[in-house]
Amino acid sequence: MLYIDCPYCGSRGHEEFTYIGDATKKRPDGAETSDPAWFDYVYLRDNPRGPHLELWHHSLGCREVVKVLRNTLTHEILGAGRPGDKIALPDAETER
């Protein structure tokens, strides 16, 4: 089980959550008509091996969206917060 520190409910098992995916993708403005911008948003992913910022929906809990920093190689959860929060790597200055 992965334990996700939901900012509203505290530490909960990942069974309660639905995975949404990469949290770094920004939806282009509604008026954006360029194909490459939408292609990048809809299809392309960094897919890192290591720390990954991602969104989980606490669907069987508070039903809020939670932003999580998790290592995809070890499954270690490095941080969690609200979608607007900046989550820093604990031992590095890198902020994504």
């Binding site: 995916g21 091996r49 991602e54």
Partner: protein, 418 residues
């Protein structure tokens, strides 16, 4: 290296099995090769084999970071089928199935290909309609398919839950009689031996750590065993494609996810076919050693770890019990995880890349094993001719950008849903 035959078996038996030669060499890497394939699983080895055999390109190296077939080739549920609906998939996987039918003979190595039939169960009228449509589309493409009603399924696989209490009553199923299973390790070993006999260097414990570029070409790969020059470079690294691509600054329409598979303690033969559940994601067959081999859904989060989590295991077991209640007291022998390169439309990507001499073979989702010979065959063609074969022309990388998706499940750009 000697042919395997009944005579070589008798001769070696009479000499106490002390004179068998090793099946493939263990060469030191040369300074450069015409073609370097990264990934010594089934796909990479098949590519090297067909490059040497069909295209006469023998100055080839296959680089493997661990041991042969230690990735997804050794971590799947060994199912082989070609029951796809959309043309681009259908013709490609059918070619692969045809290659499977000849593979043991072609390699002089028994890959234990067993065409025991793959049956997809239907649990509603709507699902029966969907299967009829898929079956018709398969038959129009020259692939075998039979729609079975409930009575026929009951006769074929009596252990399924046909009771009145069944949570998901069985209405019928779609059968591909030519589908089946193969022995995964034997596929890797047979292809390695076949490629090696044609002069391909198979280099194990050789992890790619970086690339040397010159303009829009890759001159050499940097590895844990030194720098190796390459005329052309092919990736056949399944779940690690994203990791290698990121070293080149390439973004791909792929997410890596972990998929678990399971084998039970051995039983006497009781499950003769490959059967997939239609109400949940679950697929079951029995191996030659007697263990039930089965799998289910992804863990549903990005992962490069070759291990999964318990909630998914619980979910898979529940699906299994709903389909075959009689396995409820069976003990699990082993389970393991593999890293799936989930593409954004659920279909593979085989073709050229934005870098001139780099070719990609990735996006296999749940289904790379069955494609092993077909994938190698078209990838070898693509590398040798610098142009996709007609069979993988549709599986190109730029289909996402051009809007020509091959979305068999019609679920959109959500990798976990495929």
């Amino acid at each position: 290296m000697a042919e395997y035959s009944v005579f070589s078996l008798v001769r070696n038996a009479l000499t106490g099995h002390k004179n068998w030669q090793r099946a493939w060499r263990d060469p030191e890497p040369k300074p450069s090769y015409d073609v370097v394939i990264v990934g010594g699983g089934g796909h990479g080895l098949a590519t090297a084999f067909y490059l040497a055999k069909v295209h006469g390109i023998r100055n080839v190296a296959v680089l493997e970071k661990g041991w042969l077939g230690g990735g997804n080739t050794g971590r799947n549920t060994t199912i082989v089928r070609s029951n796809y609906m959309l043309d681009d998939n259908s013709h490609f996987y059918e070619k692969s199935l045809q290659l499977w039918e000849q593979l043991s003979h072609e390699l002089n190595f028994n890959v234990m290909f067993s065409q025991r039939g793959v049956l997809n169960l239907a649990h509603s009228d709507g699902q029966m309609d969907r299967f009829a449509r898929r079956g018709n589309s398969m038959r129009l493409n020259g692939v075998d398919a039979e729609l079975l009603d409930r009575r026929q399924v009951m006769k074929m696989v009596p252990h399924l839950d046909f009771s009145d209490e069944a949570r998901f009553p069985i209405y019928g199923g779609l059968l591909q009689p030519r589908g089946g299973t193969a022995r995964h390790d034997a596929v890797a070993w047979g292809l390695a031996r076949g490629a090696d006999r044609l002069g391909v260097d198979i280099i194990q414990n050789c992890e790619v750590t970086g690339f040397r570029r010159s303009g829009n070409r890759i001159e050499a790969v940097e590895t844990s065993r030194g720098t190796i020059g390459c005329g052309k470079l092919g990736f056949a690294v399944a779940g690690n494609t994203g990791h290698l691509a990121s070293k080149l600054g390439l973004k791909l329409p792929i997410e890596s996810h972990v998929l678990q598979a399971f084998v039970s303690e051995p039983l006497k033969p009781f499950f003769d076919h490959v059967v997939t559940f239609g109400a949940e994601h679950f697929y079951l067959s029995q191996s030659d050693k007697g263990g039930l081999v089965f799998g289910g859904d992804l863990d549903m989060y990005n992962s490069y770890a070759q291990r999964g989590n318990l909630p998914t295991i619980d979910h898979v077991m529940r699906a299994g019990l709903a389909m075959v209640p009689s396995i409820s007291r069976l003990r699990l022998l082993r389970h393991w995880g593999g890293v799936m390169d989930m593409s954004m439309d659920g279909s593979p990507i085989i073709g050229k890349s934005p870098i001139d001499n780099l070719y990609l073979n990735c996006g296999w989702c749940y289904g790379g094993f069955k494609a092993t010979p077909g994938s190698g065959w078209v990838f070898a063609h693509t590398i040798a001719e610098d142009e996709p074969h007609a069979l993988n022309a549709g599986l190109r990388l730029d289909r996402f950008e051009r809007g020509h998706l091959i979305d068999e499940e019609a679920t959109g750009a959500v990798p976990g849903k495929h």
